[in-house]
Structure formats: structure tokens, C-alpha cells
Symmetry: C2
Subunit: 131 residues, 2 copies
DNA sequence: CTCCATTCAGACGAGGTGTCTGAGAATACT
DNA sequence: AGTATTCTCAGACACCTCGTCTGAATGGAG
């Protein structure tokens, strides 16, 4: 449930996604996935991205043998939350409600997601939609 | 209903908000609002921002007397839409639905929004939740 | 000790942002 | 008319971020 301090860039996000898929990994493991047959330069690139992700409080580092093991400390939902709040702050005076309304009007969820929505609405009904 | 081609920066957004508030305006009018007692340098700043907004298809220009009159051709909802779709593309494989469920989960929708949600669910039910 | 992989510090070019300068064209004032 | 004021355009600028990369130091494994 950490909050990313700043926005995550595309290259950084690619590393994060790999971390989500692989679980805690070393730079080498990540590099081999992101740049198959990569040169030593790519290794350093991944390392720099991890360094910046660490500064943004998105990953944490721990020694594993001689190498370092990195693990993600943010989830997709954290990034979604951060993005949504940023958009609300810029465009809606900080309120998330207009975003919700907009999504309700423009979204085409699939069957499973409709089910989830029904459940959520039912729950909201039960607890009596407080402000 | 235009679509902004690229993201709008903070300074550009400030100009846009002034345009939304004032309606079609000249650079002078905008400058006086954004930089009260502003020097001639500020005038050029606003002009550059309008030039970039025009390149991003967010404003249009028309001669008014000797000066130019600028008017916004995007609404807040266009920027919201653009932002939301960008977030969905980056974080949710392009689907907006996860954003919706996230908002429903993390905000306390008021009565009106719960009603909106119910209507959405009903509508989706009727048309048999397509992808 | 030598070799190899990892780590660290820092550079680099490209691109974007916000600001500003200078010169030119059109208008108003006297 | 001639001067001054306003607007416009083109372009520079310093700063920052992003993605990439180089070089040297470190530390085990053979």
C-alpha cells in the first residue's frame, strides 16, 4: 500500500511489470527478460531504472548472495490510485466523483466486471450510500 | 469533442482554464488574468502557450479586429477522457473497467452516483454485457 | 592471482517545459 | 505626416527529465 512519490515512466513501468510477473529478482534476471541477449549496457540501463524506482519508493532492495535482489513494493492499484488522484487534482479540483461519472458513461465492462459492479452496488446499497 | 493529441502541461492547462472561464479571448485579456500587472515578457509567454495548445488541437484562433481571438475547442471532459484512456492503456491493458471498480472501491459514492451506477448496471444487463 | 560478474558514479543526447528577447507589422495619437 | 504603442512572429535560453551508455572500483570463484 505504498504510494509512489512521483509518476513512473514507461521504461520504469516495464521493469515494474517484470517484477510483478517474476517476483523478487536480480538485475541480471530482469535484464535477460527485458533485453534478451542484451549487452552489458542494458544491464546498466535496468540498474539505473531500478535506482530511480527505489528513489520513487516503488521497489526495495536486499542483498542476495553477491548480487542484489529487488522486489516491488507497489501494486498496480497503487499506480492507478496515484494516476486517478493526479487527474482529479488537475482537472476536477481534487474530487474523484467527476471521474467516476465519466467512466460510468463511457465504459463497456465485460460480463465478469458487470458482476463485480453489481456486487459493489449491492454493498453500497446495504450500507446506505453515505457521502 | 476534439481530442487533444498530446498531454496538456500545467501552464497550458492554466491558460485553458482561463479560456473556459472567460470564453473566447485575446492574448492580452488572458495575460491580464494570469499575470496581473504583467510585463511584456508574460504576454509572450501566454502567446507561446497558446501556440502549443493550438498545435495540440486544444484551441483555435480567429482574427478579431487587429488582434487574434482564441477559443477553447476542448472541454474538461475531453481531457479527463484522454487522461483516463492513457492510464488504462498503461496500467490495465487498455480496459477502462478496472479504473471504474477502483473508484467505486476507494470512494464513497453519494446517493446520486449510486443511482448512476444502478442505471449503468441495468443498461448493461439489458444489452447483455458486451466486451 | 586472474577472471568474471556485479556494483557504483556519472556522463551523454534527445526531448519537453516555461520563460524571455528581438525584430517586424499594424494601428492609434498628435 | 511622424512618432509611439500594440500586437505578432520566430527563435533563443536554462532547466529538467528520460533512456541510454561508459568507465572504474569491488568482490568472489576458479
Amino acid at each position: 500500500m505504498s504510494r509512489p512519490k512521483h509518476d513512473v515512466t514507461d521504461a520504469e513501468l516495464a521493469v515494474l511489470k517484470e517484477l510483478w510477473a517474476l517476483g523478487p529478482s536480480t538485475i541480471r534476471e530482469l535484464t535477460d527478460r527485458l533485453y534478451p541477449g542484451g549487452a552489458t549496457a542494458h544491464y546498466a540501463t535496468v540498474q539505473k531504472l531500478l535506482e530511480r524506482l527505489e528513489a520513487k519508493r516503488c521497489v526495495k532492495r536486499r542483498g542476495r548472495g553477491r548480487a542484489n535482489e529487488y522486489r516491488a513494493v507497489v501494486e498496480v492499484t497503487d499506480l492507478i490510485d496515484h494516476t486517478l488522484r493526479g487527474a482529479a487534482a488537475r482537472l476536477c479540483g481534487g474530487s474523484l466523483a467527476p471521474l467516476l461519472t465519466h467512466l460510468v458513461n463511457t465504459t463497456q465492462p465485460d460480463a465478469a466486471q458487470v458482476e463485480e459492479l453489481k456486487r459493489l452496488v449491492k454493498r453500497l446499497d446495504r450500507q446506505g450510500g453515505s457521502a
